[in-house]
């Protein structure tokens, strides 16, 4: 007998599958009500396995930022804190890479690729 709590699609595959459908879903911990990322079978904060998929608002802010200096062109790499409690690595688009600052307000956008991913735009236009 397998444990039914862990039946079905594994969390990484589920994450990428929903992104491929254009939807950002993250795991939310039932007891502590916080989202977490990257996908995992257990809440890293409280250790509970009572977790479910939920859609965060997509609002976020820059937690830390760096500009990678590259011959082919500089680009931004940022850590973004999402409303709901998750943090992810991403980049901020639509602004010079070195103009990104800690605390900037952002909005998530799904980018389709062989393996889809999430980037961020400035929240205020």
């Amino acid at each position: 007998m397998t444990d039914p709590r862990f039946d079905g699609t594994g969390p990484d595959a589920y994450f990428w599958r929903t992104l491929a459908q254009g939807r950002l879903e993250l795991q939310r911990c039932g007891p502590c009500q916080q989202d977490y990322f990257p996908p995992a079978l257990v809440c890293p904060r409280c250790g509970n396995t009572d977790v479910h998929w939920a859609q965060p608002s997509g609002k976020g802010q820059v937690y830390a930022t760096t500009t990678v200096r590259d011959r082919a062109g500089d680009y931004n790499v940022a850590l973004v804190d999402l409303e709901g409690g998750a943090r992810m690595m991403s980049r901020v688009e639509g602004v010079e890479p070195d103009a990104v600052r800690v605390g900037l307000q952002l909005l998530a956008r799904v980018v389709q690729a062989e393996r889809p991913y999430v980037v961020f735009d400035l929240a205020e236009k």
């Binding site: 990322f37 937690y63 830390a64 760096t66 990678v68 943090r87 992810m88 690595m89 690729a113 393996r115």
Partner: protein
């Protein structure tokens, strides 16, 4: 009080081996490791035939224990190949203490070798993909440390000038160490003018890329007293792991060195003010600042100002990275073992021009991954028991 206190001073480092071959063409990582192991065993009057506990990690081999045991002809009855990046060897130190006192082995050899420089200079890629970070092409591992430095600057006003002063202090120590790989003078202005790689980390904020090999031999304290050199006792150790990827590090300005340090101080029954000599794994200049804070040498957010005052340079109030560190002495892929080697050399009083007079207690701290694993060891001479 933790029962691990019973390990205080019960284990001694009796042999050290350091190839000091930072650029050695035609020598493999295993050649470097074997030489270091032989030197460490000869240093304490033992041979490979005496070793029954083996502790090693490599970035070029997935099965280092098997390869090393074969090459050195070891007959081991205990082994630990824990791989947590550059801190592995201080994890091994704690593991070796436990194994020696559980009777699982009598002579523990911790060893490492690398040919990173002559093999092409890049960090050997380990099969450990990070699919949630890779799409954003962070320069590994530099961008991870850059993110931590950016956050530290934003929160505490730390400056690039203060980070540069870490590199300048390391170089000033290296100039007193004939075995350091880079000994040219270095100024703050030269560091600031260095090519930017991932803001705010420039080339001069990064450690060297070298070859090298290092090894330690440990035995239980009662046996150590019969060895050729005065024993260096392990007074305390602590380890901690907080994450793998930088995006899951809980707070980028506070590392798990807080926990590893607290455990080491508790076991040793010591405080930061008791430490005579400090080795901090300086893979990047920001590391030295973070670890000065997290190990209690200054309050959180104050390390930039401490370093700017000249405190960690030769002649300053706190002797840090007296060999020149990873920034100026050597950095063969993983540097953690070399923090312990310099601590032992200082406590033996063998450091010549860079010797800290009367050093009795040394703290060696190692880091692995991207601030992921932290390990602290406090060592002392006979008078500290």
């Amino acid at each position: 009080m933790s029962s691990s206190n019973s390990l205080r001073g019960k284990t001694a480092i009796v042999g050290i081996g350091n190839t000091r071959r930072w650029q050695a063409p035609d020598r493999s990582a295993f050649d470097q490791l074997q030489e270091a192991a032989i030197l460490a065993l000869e240093d304490c009057g033992l041979t490979t035939k005496d070793v029954d506990g083996l502790f090693c990690a490599m970035s070029t081999s997935g099965l280092p224990v098997l390869n090393v045991a074969e090459k050195l002809g070891l007959k081991i009855r205990h082994a630990d190949g824990t791989m947590v990046g550059g801190a592995s060897f201080v994890f091994h130190l704690q593991s070796a203490m436990a194994a020696l006192h559980a009777g699982l082995c009598d002579v523990a050899l911790i060893c490492y070798g690398s040919n990173q420089l002559t093999a092409g200079g890049r960090l050997a890629p380990m099969p450990d993909p990070q699919p949630h970070e890779d799409p954003f092409r962070p320069r590994y591992p530099i961008s991870s440390y850059a993110l931590a430095a950016n956050r530290h600057m934003a929160l505490y006003g730390t400056t690039r000038e203060q980070m540069a002063d870490v590199a300048v202090a390391a170089r000033a120590w290296a100039r007193l160490n004939p075995d350091a790989f880079v000994r040219d003078p270095l100024t703050r202005e030269e560091v600031l003018a260095s090519r930017m790689i991932s803001d705010p980390i420039s080339k001069a904020d990064c450690c060297l890329v070298t070859d090298g090999g290092g090894a330690l031999v440990l035995v239980r304290a009662e046996r150590a007293r019969d060895m050729p050199h005065p024993p260096v006792y392990v007074l305390g150790t602590g380890i901690s792991v907080s994450h793998r990827q930088i995006s899951t590090m809980p707070d980028l300005t506070t590392t798990a060195a807080v926990e590893s340090g607290r455990r080491a101080y508790e076991m040793a029954g010591l405080r930061p003010a008791d430490i005579d000599h400090v080795m901090l794994y300086d893979a990047f200049t920001i590391n030295t600042l973070l670890f000065l804070e997290d190990l209690g040498f200054c309050p959180k957010g104050e390390a930039g100002r401490l370093v700017e005052s000249g405190a960690i340079a030769p002649g300053g109030s706190l002797a840090v990275n007296t060999n020149g560190g990873g920034l100026s002495c050597n950095h063969p892929g993983m540097y953690g073992l070399f923090t312990l080697i310099e601590s032992v050399e200082q406590l033996r009083g063998h450091c010549g021009e860079r010797q800290i007079p009367g050093a009795q207690i040394s703290l060696a701290h190692a880091n692995g991954g991207v601030l992921s694993s932290q390990a602290t060891a406090i060592l002392g001479n006979e008078l500290t028991l």
